[in-house]
Symmetry: C2
Subunit: 80 residues, 2 copies
């Protein structure tokens, strides 16, 4: 089973990488871009067969290791 | 309108970051993890009102700047 974690900076946390990308996109004349936020995707291939259990374990992994709870939020999605 | 770009390494491209995370998860006794792939999420806030146009423009942005076409694939999703 494949579980996807999407980890983003919390609202209000400054995202310098996003600012830099926004600036670069404007230089390439993508004027419609107003804001850019950058985060991480982590796809986990697990042997678990129950999606509830897989989701719960992925949440544990995010809390223990993969996400910094002070400045990041995360979402868990079961892909397959 | 918010458009999400998910940029992942192509299948077959070595992902050392994923390997390191896999190893760390096993050290925390998450034995069910078999493989880990890491990618980037880029959320774009754009003034475009048509989702087709927003998707097309985000694809252009990915092709011109945000994704490295040699080693990365990307998906575009309209969030709101």
């Amino acid at each position: 089973m494949k579980v996807r974690l999407i980890i983003m900076l919390k609202q209000g946390v400054l995202d310098p990488q996003g600012k830099a990308i926004n600036h670069a996109l404007h230089n390439l004349s993508f004027e419609e871009v107003q804001d850019v936020r950058v985060g991480r995707v982590i796809d986990l291939e697990v042997t678990e067969t129950s999606s509830e259990k897989a989701k719960a374990r992925a949440t544990e992994m995010a809390q223990q290791l993969l996400a910094n709870g002070v400045i990041e939020d995360f979402q868990v999605e079961v892909l397959t």
